[in-house]
Every structure is written in C-alpha cells, then in structure tokens.
Symmetry: C2
Subunit: 382 residues, 2 copies
C-alpha cells in the first residue's frame, strides 16, 4: 500500500518519501534533515501560487517560524502566521473558533492552504479547523515533534478535546502533503523526544520484529540525529501509512495502532493528565509493557519477549512499571472503571491489543474483565 523510496527532492537534498495511498486523496510524507529550508519549494510544487495560513504554537513560532517563513517567501508563497498557546489545553472549542476566524480573516480561497507547523496539538487543532472552514480547505502538516512526525500527522485524524474526554470532537481530514524535518527535533525537550520514541518502538512491537531489532541496535543514533533518525521516522510513517491505507476509517486493523494505549490512557486519566507526572508516550511505554506482561500471563508469549521489550524501553529512558509514575495512584477498581468507560463505544465488550511475540500483536475482543482486574491489582501492588 505505502512504499518508502529514497528520492531526489525538488530542492537538491535527499529526502525519504512515504506515499500514503488513499486514491485521489493520497499524499506524500517527505522526511529529511533540514527539509524546512526547502519547504517553500516543496509546497509550491504541490500547490503552485497558494496563499497560506501558517499555524504554530508560541514555542515553535519562537524556534522555527522564521526559517519556515523565509523558505515560503523564497518560493514566492504569500502567507500569514497565526499563533496559538502551547499545550494540550489549546485543543479546545475556544481556540477552534478563534482559529477558524483567523483563517477566514486571512481570506484564503480555493487552491490556498492551511499549514500546521508544530506538534500533535497544533496538528490536531489546525487540521480540524482546516476541515471545517468553507467545509474543507487544503491542509499541510509540518510536524515538529517526534510524536507528530511518526504518528499524529499521518492518517487524517484531527480534533479537539471535550469535557467528556480527549479527541471526542473532530474530523477525518487528510493533508495534501506532510513535511517532516528531522533536524527540528534537535530543539525538542529530551522527555518529549523519548515520549515520541515510544510510538516508534510501538511500530516494531505491533508488526515488524526486524524493525524492533534494528531499533535495539540503532536507537542511540536515532536519538543523536544521524541518518538513522530519518530512517526510523520513515519506517514508522510507512508502518502507519500501510495500516491507514488498508483501513482509513478505523474499523479493523487500525486498532493495532492502539497497542499499549488502553492501559496507557487509563494511566494518563488516573493522574488527571498531569504531564509533570506522566506524558503520553510514557503512558504508552508502561501500557505496552503491561500488554506484553498480560499476554505472557495468558500464555500467549514467553518471558523472553517481555524481557526484551523491558530492556529496550529501559535503555532509552522510558518508564516500564506503574510504580515508575511519581505519587499516589488510585486502586485497581478505578482503573477498571476508566477502562470500561473508555471502551463504552463497543457496547461493553473489552477489546485489547495482545501479542504472540515481538512484532506479532493482534486484536482480541472479549477479554475477561476479571482477568484484567487480577492482573492490574498485582501490578499496582508490585
């Protein structure tokens, strides 16, 4: 479905290109170190003469907007910057309204585009606004966090949070182009980089044992920013693009991408999304550990699998145990309530992503809640 190719990009440098194959809505993800400098040319090649509204949060605007803007100007692209506050709370109705208003004030026409320059927060909010303004403006993602480059910018899910929960309001809106400059990750806080890395490891664990083994050997270069980083981003995008192309509207296979996320989300909710205690990728790391341990408990895989996963996540500095989370945690019953509520959409049945080994995750519907309860109790008391 999706294919990775090393291709010459228009502006001279080498870029990895992952094609997301969605028929007439298909698009390229271009990945490369320093791509921001040629972003204008890349965009002009897809949308010649477009006027752009560029959305960034204050942190990213301070660090990278100037370079991006210069590259647009050099390519003759008229544009206007719109800044939003940094942080998850920006994914709200109020900022959605303000952003829609600002995009309209920029007087974009058909053929123009809205650009998200930032992490998953800016990508999700901006994508939803782009989907809604004039019932759908062209949308470009320029992801600046590792999480956004390997996960949130691929697949077309956009949205905001409601007081009933995260990401409950939104749209499927595919971008026309994704530009991932792996050099901008150099300014990312180490904790944010590690958090995004949990999703990279996830792609190996859910379906590609060879990739996981490659990460075990090469993770230091990925963190340091060598060509291995580009390769890790490209292989991750390819993995997600394949699942997305096979199952755009998330009915079946796409669920595999939730490996580690049921437990992870419950942990995030249990600390009331206080990011000082737990960021998303840390929850995913612990959640993936729990998924592997639970799979071992069910006799689906061996202890060797669990040990390999634990070693690798520990090596890169990610937490692997519930007790790695600072402060008090609620009792196991509360976790089960959170999970049951999270799963409410599937009429009460508990669905988990389990595994038969590295790279062999699968969707298991109808897991016995009592088994989960016992398992969680033990883990919380450990």
């Amino acid at each position: 479905m999706a294919e990775t190719a090393v291709a010459e990009n228009g502006s001279g440098g080498d870029a990895n290109v992952v094609r997301v194959d969605l028929g007439t809505r298909g698009y390229d993800i271009r990945i490369g170190r320093g791509l921001l400098a040629s972003a204008g040319a890349e965009i002009a090649a897809v949308l010649p003469g477009a006027r752009l509204a560029v959305v960034a949060d204050e942190t990213v605007a301070r660090l990278h907007l100037k370079a991006f803007s210069q590259s647009l100007t050099a390519a003759g692209l008229d544009h206007r910057a719109i800044t939003v506050p940094a942080g998850e709370s920006t994914k709200c109705f109020r900022e959605f309204e303000r952003l829609c208003d600002e995009i309209l004030a920029a007087r974009l026409e058909r053929g123009d585009a809205v650009v998200a320059l930032g992490g998953g927060v800016v990508g999700d909010l901006t994508g939803f606004a782009a989907s809604a303004v004039r019932r759908g403006m062209a949308f470009i993602q320029v992801p600046t966090t590792l999480l956004a480059q390997v996960d949130s910018s691929v697949g077309g899910k956009t949205g905001i949070n409601s007081r009933h929960g995260k990401n409950l309001i939104g749209a499927f809106h595919q971008p026309v182009l994704v530009l991932a400059d792996t050099a901008v990750l150099d300014t990312l806080a180490p904790r944010d980089f590690r958090s995004g890395y949990a999703e990279v490891a996830k792609y190996g664990l859910l379906g590609d044992a060879e990739f996981f083994a490659w990460l075990e050997d090469n993770w230091q270069a990925v963190f340091a920013g060598g060509p291995e980083r580009d390769e890790a981003v490209a292989r991750s995008c390819q993995a997600k693009a394949e699942v997305v192309a096979a199952d755009e509207l998330e009915s079946g296979r796409r669920a595999l991408l939730n490996l580690g996320h049921t437990f992870g989300h419950a942990l995030e909710a249990a600390v009331s999304y206080e990011t000082e205690r737990l960021v998303h990728g840390e929850g995913v790391a612990i959640g993936m550990m729990l998924a592997h341990e639970f799979s071992e408990r069910l006799g689906l895989t061996g202890e060797d699998t669990v040990l390999r996963v634990r070693r690798h996540l520990t090596d890169v500095g990610l937490p692997v145990r519930v007790r790695d989370i600072p402060g008090q945690l609620p009792p196991a019953e509360t976790f089960l309530d959170i999970i049951a509520q999270d799963k409410k959409v599937s009429r009460g049945a508990l669905t988990f992503i389990l595994t038969r080994g590295i790279g062999e995750a699968f969707v298991e519907k109808g897991v016995d809640p009592a088994l989960v309860a016992d398992f969680l109790k033990e883990k919380l008391e450990a």
Copy 2:
C-alpha cells in the same frame, strides 16, 4: 442518478421515495403526509436498536416533538431530546459546542444516531455536530419547513455561521435517512411556507420547464396541502438529489442550484439579514427575477420568459422587485461590493447563473462587472 418511486412504506402508508445515489453513502428521502407517526418504524428499519439524540428548536419541540417521540417509543427506540433556541443565530459556535457536549452526554455509541427535527437551522447545526462528535455519528434528517424538505436536508451540506459570513464553518455529512412529513408544514407560518416555495419554483426554472408549468397549474393545491404538495416536495428533492449525486462536492453542476442566490444573498446582506424586512426565499425570489431580467438584457432569453416567472412568483405572494423590500436600500455600488466579496472564492471572476429560458439555466463564468453595475443601478432606481 436519483429516482422517484411510489413505494409502500414499512408502516402501511404510502410514501414517495427519492433515492440519493452516493454509492455506499446513498440514502432514501421518504416523503408523505403523516409520516411522523411512522417515523420510529422507518428509523428502526434502517438502524435497528439505535439510541437517538433528537435535536429540535423550541418552536418545533412545542408543536411536533411529542408526536415524534411517541412514534420512536412505539418502535422501541430509546431517545433523548435536546432543545436549542429558534432562529438563525442558533447556527453559532456556542450552540455547536453545547450541542456536541449534549450529544456526548447522551452516551451514544457506534450504531446510534443524531436526529435533526426542524428547519434548516436545526438541520445545519445538528448535521455539523453529528459530523464532528467522535469524528462522525450517523445522522437522520426530519425536516419540518418547506425549505428544509426541498433543499437544506438534501445534499449533505451542514454548518454554522461565522462573523465573517453565513455557512462558512461546517462539513459535508450525508444523512442515513431523510423523513419529510408534509403535514407538519401545516403549522408553518405562511411567510415561511412561501419562502420555501421559492426554492421549489427554482428547480423548475433551473432545469425542468415541465415542472414549472405543473407548478403554474397546481401551486394552490401545493399550498393547501393535498397530494400535490407531496409531489412538489418529491420532484424538488429528486432534482436536488440528481445534481448532488452528479457533483457531490460542488465543483460544477451543483452551482446551478444557486440560481437567484447571488443577487438574493446580496439583498439579504443589504438588509443586514433582518428577517422582518426580507427572509431567504424572498431574496431568492427577487434574485431569480433579476437573473431572468439580466439574461433578457444580455439577449439570452425573451421577455415572455421574464413575464411568466414574474406572474407565477406574484401569484404565490412572493416579492419580485427590489422595491418590494420595505425601507431604504444601499446604492448599487454597495451591492457590487457585496457580490464581489461573495465571489471572492473564485479569484475575482464574476460567475452568475443565467438562463436561456424556463428550465434552461447555465453557469456563466466571467460576467462583465460593468454590465452588472449598470443593470443593478437601473433596478435600484426603478
């Protein structure tokens, strides 16, 4: 593409059925007098066991919610009513947020649906909320105004207004079923009925001379509520459904539906959308007259065409001249500014729907603004 068929409906009565042919997203529009009483059975046939959030404005809730709710209960459909204020100002971000919240609070799951019971305001707002909650809930339209039955409930356009203009924020979100009970129109204010009728006449004028001739002969029965009303609604839905199926995302043919609307919108804007002075269908009626007169001026059609259109619109009680609008109007230059701004989306070129005769409208790109200016000046001074 779309076809009208007289079919037995599940609950015994006769209903006209118009199929909107959009592949896997196709759906039926069922039209009939007293359909509200069998709405529960109709919905249960499409979404067995669904739980429903039913959205209505306060006026419609007072008049028709009880009957609708009883029909749902009789069919065993669990549901919850959500009320919004009546009026155009309900199509705003604040009500959008509140409605999304209420739909989430109703804890609908996959397989459940959001129902719009009301006019175009409730349909547009509710459809947008249905598109956004969980990135897309199933949506059912139960239109209760003539305008909603023949126009806004067909085609999947949903949305709200922004301070930059009407309907600028929204989504394409097709319903899974449309139920048009023509008896509920009996409680509609005569002015609202007439306003919706302008859109019915539009379908004849834009592409179906035979339908227009039929309306000239049968409009009194349409207003009185006989089987002719059902037929007029069905033929209108069919006309719109055909255009929509041919051109779902509004690139070409769908523009024909804007006959009378460029001038009409300018008139609505010129009175600041004060509905005491002008409601939408009245603006459309005057706008259609202007489109025919302008076409005559350009030598595209004869005076006989203009006279027939004027006579029919006058017969049913719709305004046909700019001076029929009570109060002062701005000068011609202001209208041109409004039109130019309205057309901004197509890079300055003025596109109009013109006609070669009854039922022979076409899209004309690149109309000379100077000709429009002269024409408008004359009409405003007439």
